[in-house]
Structures are given as C-alpha cells and as structure tokens.
C-alpha cells in the first residue's frame, strides 16, 4: 500500500504543487506573522531593558487604571499625577540612593523646515522628553546633548528622512504656542534610529519642564543606587519613605511593564494578521478537500482494482489519508520557510512606512515551528477525511465498470446537513453580535462566520447547476465554446460548487468589509448632518490631537460666534473602560445638536457629567444622582449626573466640561475644534480668518462640513483598501483552486477534448471553452460571496446601530466590480489549463489502446 501511495504522489507532481501551494501560502502567512511579531517583541524587550539598565528604581504617582490607549496625544505618556520637586529631595535622602534624575515627557511635533509641513502624520506618536544624563536610554550619534532653552536633539530616523543637520533651526509644535529650536544633537535608541516610528524631540530638563508645563515637577524619578545596594532592597526603602499616591518599582520591572504595554499593542497586530492567515488556511482546506475528492473519483477504477486484489476499505482510506499527510507535512515545512521570507518582507514594508525596528536577530521560536507544522498538517489531513472515506466505499466491482464516478450521498441528506450547519452558523453569528457578553462575542462571531461558510458550501451544490446555468445563459449566444463551457460548469455541480466555495469565502469577506465601510461612511455622514452645526471643523487629518492654543487664539475673533474645543480621554465607569468627551458647555450647543432630554448642558459648569440616555437607563442612573468615575490620574471621583442626551453619535457615552477634563487628565490637547461664523459674516472671510490663525500649526486642517466628510471617508477607504489587500491572499488561493480543478477536469475529459478537436474544433475554441467554464465558476463563487457578504454586513450594522452605525448602505457598483473582477480572475486562472487542453495531442486523446 505504501509504495502505491508514494508512487501516486510522484505521478502527479504539478497537481501536488498546486494543492500544496494553498497550504504553503496559508502557513507561510501564519509563520510570517509569528516571526515578525516575535522579532518585534524581542526588539522591544531589548530596547526597554537597555533603556532602563542604568536605573535601579523608578518613582512615580499611582495610576488608578491602565487606559487601553496611551495618553490622548499618543505620546505614550501614562496618565499619572506629576511628581513634585520636594519628593525628589525626599528620595535623595533615602539611604543607599546615589543619585536621582527627574524626567518629563509630553507632546512635541517637529515641522520640516524645508516644506513647513509637520513630520509624523502616520499616526505614530510624536513626543518630547527631557535629557537625563545619568539614566537616558538615548545615545548621541552626532553633536552635543541639548543644554539650555532653544536647543533640541532629534531622533536619527527623522534626521535622515528629512535631511536635518546639527545646527539647523527647527519649529516644534507644543501644547502651548509653537517654538523654534536649534538642533544640538542627533540621537538613536541604541542601534535603532527611532522607537517604532515615533518622532522624538529631546530638551534639557529645565526646557522640557517649561514646554510641557511641569515647572517644579517631574513625570517620574529615576534613582541610581549606591554600589552594593540591591534594586529591590532600595525600592522597599524608598517606598517606605513615599507619601500616599506614589509608588516605587525597580528599573527592571518598569522596563518589563513598558515592553508589556507595547507588546499588548503588538498582540492586536498579531491577532489581526493571524485572522487573515486563518482565512487563507480555511480557503486552503476547501482546495485540499476538492482536489482529493476529484482524485478519488478519478482513481475509482484503480482503487476498485486494489479492492479486487484484496485491499480492505480501511487500507484504501489510509492510503488516501497518508497521501494528504505527506502533502500537509511537506507544504507546512515549505510554508514555514516561506514565513521567514514573508516576515522579512513585512519588516521591510514597515520600514518603508517609517517604522524602524531596533535591530535584533530574527526570532523563530519553537512555538512558531510547532504551531505552523501542526496547523498546516492538520488542516490538510482533516480536509482529506471525507474524500478518504469516499475512497473506502469504492467497491471492487467499480474496477470493472467503465467511467463511473459514483453518486455519493443523497441530496436530501446534503440539504438537511447544509441547512443545519448554516443555521448553527447564523445563530452563533447573531448571538455573538447581539446577545453575548463582549468577552466571547468575537470568537462566537468568528465561529458563526466559519460555520455559515461551511454550511453554504455544503448547500451550494444544490444550487450550483441552475445558478451556473443562469449565469452562463448569455454565453449561449457566443457559439459552441460558450455553450460547452456553460455545460461543463453545470455537469458536475458538486465540483463546481466546491471550487466556487473557496472563492466565495474571500469575496464574501471582501464584500462584507465593503458593505460595512459604506455603512460607516453613510452613517457618519448622516450623523454629521443631524448633529453638527459648525461651519468649520479643525482636525489634524491623522487622528492626532493638537495644541489648545489654536482654540484660544480663535476665541477673540469677532467674526466668529462660537469656538468650541473637543477632547477625549478614557475613564472607568460602571465597571467598564469608556471614553469621556471634554466639551465647552458655553459654546457646544451652538456647534452641535446633542438632543438633551433631561437636565442641561449648563450643569457641566459645576463639574457634573452628562450621560447617554440608554447607558443611564441600563445603569439605573437619574439626573442629580452621584456616580463613581475613575480617572487614571486622579483616581476615584464622584460626579453628579447633570443631564441625559438621546443621541450618542457626537459625544459618545459620557461628557464633562473642559475644566473637569483639565482637572483629571494630564495631557491637554484638542481632538477637534468647531467654529461657527457670526451672523452676517461672509463665510469666505471666516475661512480666511481661521486659516490665518492656524497658519502657525501646519498639522491643523480647516475643513467645512463637506470637506470633513470627505476626509473621514478617505480614512475609511484607506482601511477598506488595506483589509481587502490582506484578504487578497485568500482570493489568490481560491484562484489556485480553480486552476487545480480545471486541470483535473481536463485530465478527466481528455477523450472528449480529443473528439472535439478531431471534429474540427480549433485550439482557440478549446481555450475559449475552458475559459468560459472558469469564468462561470468564478462568477458563481463571487455571487454567492457577495450575497453572504451583504448578509454579514447587514448583521454587523444592526449590531452596531446603537454605536452610531445607523445606516445600512450596500455599494452596488463596488460589489458589481468584485463580481466582474472575479470573472476576469477566472480568465486568468484558466490560462494554464486552457493552454494544456488546447495542446492535447488529438491522437493520444482518442486512442484506446
């Protein structure tokens, strides 16, 4: 049996290659994701331990909770109270302390002197720090460390990219008004040119304290121990000396914590990429299943002969599964190798986007090897179980009968099974979206989507024939090639359906993303129309906040009726971390419609909190009630509910006044500023006023409502393009599936093709016939995919309706484009099989001997 298995494997090298390719790509992507994120994680570990290696103990204020994102400025600064100067003296007095450095961190964005544009618009952090001679993680590459006001050091990556030199003058945007500095030094993070894409401005301590509004204060203290004093020991001694609200941790623990925070973000990235790898493997499983099914059907005679010669059903089954196992192991191994290349490619891509990683060796952890091999092999193996069982059922009699590729199980059983699986899938999906607690929701939705795809794939052979017939109907007008192509697509509905199903998954997900993005866009547009009354919206165009100075500068302009700033930070309330908006109670109602149902916006002035009506109802809060709100910096506060509002699309679930916001958050940057023109002032003049005022802030863009909508739509489109590109892998694999199926079908129809050629069909006609068959299969998959995608999109929109996705928009042109592209891809997939079919030697094809 073994020899037969091996021989059969090698007899079909090309088929083996195509089948394996599906697994290679999926495993490669998975391994690549692991290698890349492991390498990045290791790099950050190294980086932070180097950064903190000079520091024995870190002293800082206690943070009430860890926000899920860094400071709102994206500066990476923790939301903590500052450490006062006196505390430094206290710490210095602790026995065993050799020296204490204080550092401050804050928002500082560089402006390219050559163009006047801001540097760092990719959303990566742009921050400034103080230079601590003793404990700095930075290494000076060129120049001298900054000393005194007016001097700055910048990171090497930025310097290189924008050709900045020591001695050059540079404008820097700060929380206050922008200031000009002279570049004193170029610095690196050890061997890396920057920290994961962040741009850096380094000031001496006094300057940093001045520009970050920390005069007489520090963010943290770095303590260096006397020789012979252990870090943990010193930590305990310092902790004993600290007043309430402050903590001491060892430098190593701080490094681990810093690295952990970054690695958590890395974890999201990893999970996101793994989802795409998983989708690719899932599609790969369909290809394997389909290929093995066809092979078993084609080898019916051979298998029957083996049975007639005395092989048991189990032996036949095992031989097929062994074949799958070998394919799986080999493909997984190759995939693992491909993964290393993919990781290097991804890293190069990140670098091209300006995210430079500290150099470290590529991390191929045992976990990566094991998971890749096990998953790749298992997927292949499981996909072959059903075909193998089918092989086991081949009777010895079938060796003697001609051509028979057996009927298989009844359509009724298939229909029942398909409906049950689809039903389970849809149920899991809907429960995940609407019912489940947030913890299990994501996995339920994933499982639901998976089961739905499988269920529809099981059902699709039932509709494949009529659907392929209907889709191919126009082809009948194109003569014999189109007609035969259509008939061929219809002749084996199970095979057509299984091939199309692989494509269906990719197209389904892409369509879902398209529907969701379109709904997001139209919902956002509707939200603006219904809630926003401002004439102009000021943002940075990269989701980064900007200096509140802008709003202050505009406030005195007599041409403006209202200038209203909007900030956003995280709080813990009712057991959940959520966003709170900081708004100006005096002007907000001139620029936005909030739909306040009870209480008033004016109550915010007394430090009250506004709550979204639905949230208040869920928690049983009424106006006037005091609720517990936890701020990371200031800890537990009790705020009075000052009012309820019915529309959360503008504010989110909670809002406080800017004053309350300032009292409880460290970083004070505006996310947006809304401007309303005064009565009777020409809008063009207002625009000119505003543009003049922001001229010093090249990061701030002035948009009217229509432009703002376009800007947001642009972000959504970017995201859509990125996700679609990643799903392209799954679609590519599905196309290999079509190539494979067509190739096998052509092999099966050698005689028929020979006959057609003998009676005068030209090569061109044969090629066109195969092409049409491929196009029908591809379009069939695309149509099913689009249908599922729209369904998923609808479900998602419904689930998120209360989060502001109030409109369902199905983009017909885009979906149609997907179907047309799938058809074109079908043409592409048919190139090789068609050429092979056309090249068949007529004589070989019709000889019987």
């Amino acid at each position: 049996m073994w020899r037969a298995t091996i021989k059969s494997l090698f007899a079909r090298k090309l088929r083996l290659l195509l089948t394996a390719l599906a697994i290679v790509l999926g495993v490669g992507f998975m391994a690549g994701t692991y290698v890349l994120t492991d390498t990045m994680g290791k790099a950050f570990d190294d980086l932070f331990s180097t950064a903190n290696q000079n520091t024995d103990v870190v002293v800082r204020a206690v943070s009430a909770f860890q926000p899920t994102q860094g400071g709102p400025g994206g500066s990476g600064a923790d939301e903590r109270n500052p450490v006062p100067e006196q505390l430094r003296t206290v710490v210095e007095g602790v026995p065993g302390v050799a020296s204490v450095d204080g550092d401050v961190t804050g928002y500082a964005q560089l402006v390219d002197p050559a163009t006047g544009d801001v540097i760092g618009t990719t959303g990566a952090p742009t921050f400034g720090v103080s230079w601590n001679p003793a404990s700095t993680p930075l290494t000076v590459r060129e120049g001298q460390p900054p000393s005194g006001p007016g001097e700055v050091a910048i990171d090497a990556a930025t310097a290189q990219k924008f050709h900045l030199k020591v001695g050059q003058r540079i404008q820097i945007l700060l929380t206050g008004p922008p200031q000009e500095f002279q570049i004193a030094a170029i610095v690196g993070f050890g061997t890396a040119d920057n920290l994961a894409g962040a741009t850096l401005a380094v000031f001496d301590l006094r300057t940093a304290q001045a520009v970050f509004d920390r005069v007489g204060e520090y963010d943290t203290l770095q303590v260096i121990a006397d020789p012979g004093v252990g870090a943990a020991d010193l930590r305990d001694r310092i902790a004993a000396a600290l007043p309430k609200g402050y903590e001491a941790i060892t430098g190593a623990a701080a490094a681990a914590q810093d690295a952990e925070d970054l690695k958590q973000a890395l974890g999201f990235f990893q999970t996101a990429l793994l989802v795409f790898a998983f989708v690719a493997l899932f599609v790969g499983a369909f290809i394997i299943f389909n290929t093995f099914t066809i092979i078993v059907a084609q080898r019916t005679r051979e298998l029957g002969l083996l049975r007639a010669l005395g092989a048991t059903g189990r032996q036949v089954m095992r031989s097929v599964m062994a074949e799958a196992l070998v394919v799986g192991i080999v493909a997984s191994l190759v995939g693992l190798g491909a993964g290393l290349l993919i990781a290097i490619g991804l890293q190069a891509m990140l670098k091209a986007f300006g995210i430079d990683l500290p150099s470290t060796s590529t991390q191929l952890l045992p976990r990566t090897i094991v998971v890749s091999l096990v998953v790749g092999t298992l997927v292949t193996f499981v996909a072959s179980v059903i075909p193998a069982r089918r092989a086991a059922r081949v009777s010895p009699m079938q060796a003697l009968r001609d051509g028979a590729s057996g009927g298989g199980e009844s359509l009724r059983r298939r229909a029942v099974g398909g409906v049950v699986v689809t039903g389970l899938g849809v149920a899991a999906l809907l429960y995940g979206l609407f019912g489940a607690s947030s913890g299990s929701a994501a996995s339920l939705v994933g499982l639901g989507a998976l089961l739905t795809f499988v269920g529809v794939a099981v059902l699709s052979p039932l509709v494949a024939k009529p659907l392929a017939g209907a889709l191919g109907a126009p082809l009948r007008a194109l003569g014999i090639s189109g007609r035969l192509g259509r008939q061929n697509a219809m002749r084996s509905p199970r095979r057509t359906a299984a091939t199309a199903a692989a494509l269906m998954i990719g197209i389904g997900l892409v369509s879902f993303v398209a529907v969701f993005a379109a709904s997001l866009r139209s919902s956002f547009s509707a939200a603006l129309d219904e809630t926003l009354r401002a004439d102009f919206i000021l943002t940075t165009g990269s989701f980064t906040p900007f200096s509140p100075q802008v709003a202050q500068d505009l406030a005195s302009d007599p041409d403006l009726a209202a200038v209203s700033a909007f900030r956003q930070g995280q709080i813990r309330i009712a057991g959940k971390t959520d966003f709170v908006a900081g708004i100006d109670p005096a002007t907000i109602e001139q620029v936005a419609t909030l739909g306040v149902t009870q209480g008033s916006v004016g109550s915010l002035v007394q430090g009250d909190i506004l709550v979204y009506e639905e949230v208040a109802n869920t928690n049983g809060w009424a106006v006037g009630e005091r609720v517990a709100v936890e701020f990371a910096r200031t800890g537990l506060q009790h705020l009075t509910v000052g009012g309820l509002y019915a529309d959360n699309r503008f504010l989110g679930n909670y809002a406080v006044s800017l004053q309350t916001y300032e009292a409880n958050f460290t970083e004070q940057l505006d996310e947006m500023v809304f401007v309303k023109a005064a009565e009777g002032v020409p809008i063009a003049r207002v625009r000119a006023d505003v543009e003049d005022a922001v001229a010093a802030y090249p990061n701030v863009q002035v948009n009217d409502q229509a432009e703002f909508k376009d800007q947001q739509a642009g972000f959504i489109d970017q995201l859509l393009a990125l996700v679609s590109a990643l799903l392209g892998l799954a679609i590519l694999i599905a196309l290999f599936g079509i190539v494979n199926t067509l190739g096998l079908s052509i092999f099966e129809r050698t005689r028929e093709l020979g006959l057609l050629r003998a009676v005068g069909m030209s090569r061109r006609q044969v090629r066109s016939m195969i092409r049409w068959e491929s196009v029908i299969i591809a379009v069939l998959g695309a149509v099913l995919g689009v249908a599922i995608g729209v369904l998923f999109g609808w479900a998602m929109q419904q689930a998120l309706a209360s989060q502001g996705i109030t409109k369902l928009t199905i983009p017909p042109v885009q979906l149609l484009v997907y179907v047309v592209l799938a058809g074109l891809a079908g043409v592409l997939a048919a190139v090789l099989p068609a050429r092979r079919a056309a090249r068949l030697n007529v004589l070989d094809a019709i000889s019987y001997e």
């Binding site: 003569g479 014999i480 007609r483 035969l484 008939q487 061929n488 219809m490 002749r491 005689r751 028929e752 006959l755 057609l756 050629r757 003998a758 009676v759 005068g760 069909m761 030209s762 090569r763 006609q765 007529v842 004589l843 019709i846 000889s847 019987y848």
Partner: protein, 234 residues
C-alpha cells in the same frame, strides 16, 4: 479522389506504414483490413490529418494535407472530413441533436434543415433527439455519431472500428446506415475494421500487413474476406 502516401518512422524504428500507396474513389465505401499492428489505424489517422507522416503525401481531392498548417488541418477536419470512432464518440453534456450538429456549431454555420431531417430520419432516432448520450444505448449512440459525421456533408468520412463496441445487431444497423449513405447520397467512406462481417458491407476491401498494402478485393463477402485474412495470417 486521389490519395497516395509513403510513411516511415525514423530510420530503424517500427515502420508502421512502409511506403503505402493507395487511392479511395469518391462515392464508394472502402474497408481497410489487417491484423493487429498492420498499420490500419495509423493510415487512417494520417489520411484524416490527425497525424503527420514522416514522409510522403496525403491528398483529399486536390488538397495536399502534408502541406497544411495545424490551423488549416483543423479547418479541413471541420469542413471536409467526418469521423466515427470506436468508443467515446459523443460529448456527454450535449443532447443527441446537439451532438449531431456539433461540427456545424463549431464552424458557426447553420445546419441545412432538410438534410438534417433526412439524416435524423435515416438513423431513426427522432424521438430521442433531446436525450443525453448517457440515456441512449451503445447502438443509438453510434448511430448519432454516424449522423454527426454526415451532417456537414464532408468529402470523406473515416470510421475507425465503428462496430468494435457494439453487439452484432446494432453493428448491422450502423453499417447499413453507412452503406445507404454511400448508395443514396454518394458519400465517400473509409472504414478500418478487423471484422470480416463489417468489411462485407463495403464495396471494396484493402488488406494491410506490416505497413504495406498486400491485396485488395472488390465486392467482398464475409466468407471471402475471412478466408483471405486467414491466408494473410498464415
């Protein structure tokens, strides 16, 4: 119709055809006979433009097949040649009627309705025209194949062991149909067979052995052919 051909494979290889020279007259039913390996099928394939001879020339009418490109050969097969094969003659996805008009569909021309009806009536399968090959018996399938070979009014029809897979009664039906096509419509048919009974339906039998024409016989009967075959083998 003039046809002469010389064929030899390489230098020392098997000479499947060894300087064969033979004519098939227009409007006659000729059978080619010979033991296995005598080169019958090779001859047929060369004459039909399916295979290229290593030497010599093949004519259908005035057209020299050996001078034609692959494309021209395809056109020639489509317009001037009809085929009936031993097995696997029909396209399984097409109905009987569609199979019959297949060569015309490939050429993109409309069938001559009257001629189509006449052919269909001759094979007696009018009620089964909308059936797929899998719903027809072997004999019926082969008659559909015969009708397909005739429907484009080719200059010559080649039949390669057309009765090989049929029971004797179905075989007789098919052969009668072929002979009638020659008698009534002046069709030219060349048939390869090893069955003396089949050969007896032809007007003339050409005997092949070891790649050479060894003999021929006019107005054959089954007995005479059989005797002759025995003498060839003995």
């Amino acid at each position: 119709m003039q046809l002469s051909k010389v064929y030899g494979r390489g230098d020392a290889e098997v000479r499947a055809l060894d300087d064969v020279s033979v004519d098939f007259e227009r409007g006659r039913f000729t059978a080619i006979m010979g033991p296995s390996g005598s080169g019958k099928s090779t001859l047929l394939h060369c004459m039909a433009g399916l295979d290229a001879p290593t030497g010599g020339k093949v004519f259908i009418g005035d057209v020299d097949l050996t001078a034609l490109s692959e494309k021209q050969l395809t056109l020639l097969r489509r317009e001037k040649v009809g085929f009936v094969f031993q097995a696997y003659n029909l396209v399984p996805t097409l109905t009987a009627a569609e199979n019959i008009t297949l060569p015309l569909d490939i050429a993109g021309t409309k069938p001559d309705r009257a001629w189509f009806d006449q052919v269909v009536d001759t094979i007696g399968l009018r009620p089964r025209l909308s059936h797929r090959p899998s719903e027809l018996s072997g004999g019926q399938q082969q008659r559909v194949a015969g009708a397909r070979a005739l429907v484009s009014k080719p200059e010559i029809v080649y039949a390669d062991e057309p009765t090989g897979n049929l029971d004797s009664r179905s075989g007789v039906e098919l052969l009668t149909f072929l002979r009638d096509a020659v008698k009534e419509h002046g069709q030219t048919i060349v048939m390869v067979t090893h069955d003396p009974n089949a050969a007896s339906f032809a007007d003339r039998v050409v005997f092949l052995a070891d790649g050479r024409v060894v003999d021929e016989m006019e107005g054959p009967t089954a007995e005479r052919v059989l005797d002759h075959m025995k003498s060839l083998e003995g």
